[in-house]
Amino acid sequence: MASHTHRQPAPAAPPGPAPEGAARPWPADQPAVFEAVDLACVRRDRTLFEGFSFRLAAGELLQIEGANGSGKTSLLRILCLLALADAGEVRWNGVNVAEDRADYLGRLTYIGHTPGVKADLTALENLQVASALAPDTAACHPDDALAAVGLAGFEDTHVRELSAGQTRRVALARLLLQPTRLWILDEPFTALDRAGKRRVEELLEAHCAAGGMALITTHQPVDVGDAAKTRIHLGPEPAAMDEAG
């Protein structure tokens, strides 16, 4: 358990391309459309948003911005069927996703506000469970996924002993285990250092280039190269938005 300490300086994110792009479970040119139609969310008699719609096609990234408490997390939870919308529906290729829940859930990876990582398991054990919960047998070995997010050498470290940023990386490694077409990420850059953020941007860029879709909430500027990027502001539009924040 203590053997990792001398390896601490190692985890600078390797800049080389990760094993993604290898086996995509969808044909590259297969069309896919992810839509939200007139979604509304009311929490404790307060309307967070209503009439919220968007359309996301293959290879596109949608960045959702909004002030704290504007309902970004509620929106993401509605999109992955963890919460119920008060109105409206979510559609995959024109079909309401609630009709075939298992099929839809097999197409998406959600990384929420809480990373969904067990503190008392090692990084590797966490990913092994995640890969067992995935729709098919994992396309990428948990070891490789950890290496790809810059955690080589930390496989057998208990997550409790990792830093917040490293814990976030363990969660992000799930994206590589089983390539799903739709990524829904809530504040993926939280606690990540500059190299870590860059690494996630590269993953997003490669994902979009391969025809995947991503939906993220963040206040930080996102650089995903050539991928089509849309920004949506949730909640009341402030007069002067803090572009840098």
Binding site: R77, L82, D103, G116, V117, V129
Partner: protein, 222 residues
């Protein structure tokens, strides 16, 4: 699906082993409560033999309730529960794996220690086998039924008391039939009826409770 079931089972047992002190809590409670009775009631064999089935079962039931609260708590707090519900595998199957792991970690030790406690209370040897049988049939039912209550209260900050109020009435039939069976065995009467009833309740709970628990979790998270 079987793969996911086993992965969750293995994960929860690993976690339980890494939290041995939490694991010991209900067991210590069980032992302490039962061993206090001979001190309070006096060592007369007649009295202890008469009350032993009731004491053993009430203590086992309270110990099981005590352990119940933790079933989904940590998963809820660290977001693992969301990931469980987002898996394309049926949530009821994954929930069943969690309940089974929880019972193996908290219910099974109660059964294993109970012969020793039965000895403290002068429970007749004939009744010991019946006691073990009722515990083996009854404690999994407690875990399954309790899981529904835990799933409903997991989102609440202080759900402990509510959980107790919610599940204890549901435990009463199990308590009545299980303690009754041990009582009958101690008096030399047949016990088949009660055991069949406990087995039937267990089958019913194993069939329906995972579905209800999965639905309750979805409500709690939503």
């Amino acid at each position: 699906m079987g793969h996911a079931f086993l992965a969750i089972l293995k994960r929860d047992l690993t976690l339980a082993l890494r939290h041995r002190s939490e694991l010991a809590n209900p067991l210590v409670f069980f032992v302490v409560v039962v061993s206090l009775f001979p001190l309070a009631l006096g060592p007369e064999q007649d009295i202890l033999t008469r009350v032993a089935p009731g004491i053993l079962w009430v203590a086992a039931l309270l110990a099981a309730t005590l352990a119940m609260d933790g079933m989904f708590r940590s998963d809820f707090e660290d977001g693992s529960l969301e990931q469980l519900l987002l898996s394309p595998h049926p949530p009821s199957v994954l929930v069943l794996a969690k309940i089974l792991a929880h019972w193996l970690a908290t219910g099974l030790p109660l059964i294993l220690i109970s012969p020793l406690l039965a000895l403290f209370l002068h429970l007749p040897g004939d009744a010991l086998g019946v006691l073990l049988a009722t515990l083996a049939l009854g404690t999994p039912t407690l875990s399954l039924v309790g899981a529904i209550g835990v799933a409903l209260t997991v989102g609440l900050r202080r759900g402990g008391l509510l959980l107790t109020l919610l599940v204890l009435p549901l435990y009463v039939p199990v308590l009545i039939f299980a303690a009754g069976a041990v009582d009958n065995a101690a008096a030399g009467f047949p016990v088949a009826g009660q055991l069949y009833f406990l087995a039937a309740v267990l089958v019913l709970a194993a069939t329906l409770a995972p579905l209800a628990t999965a639905a309750s979790l979805r409500i709690s998270l939503g």
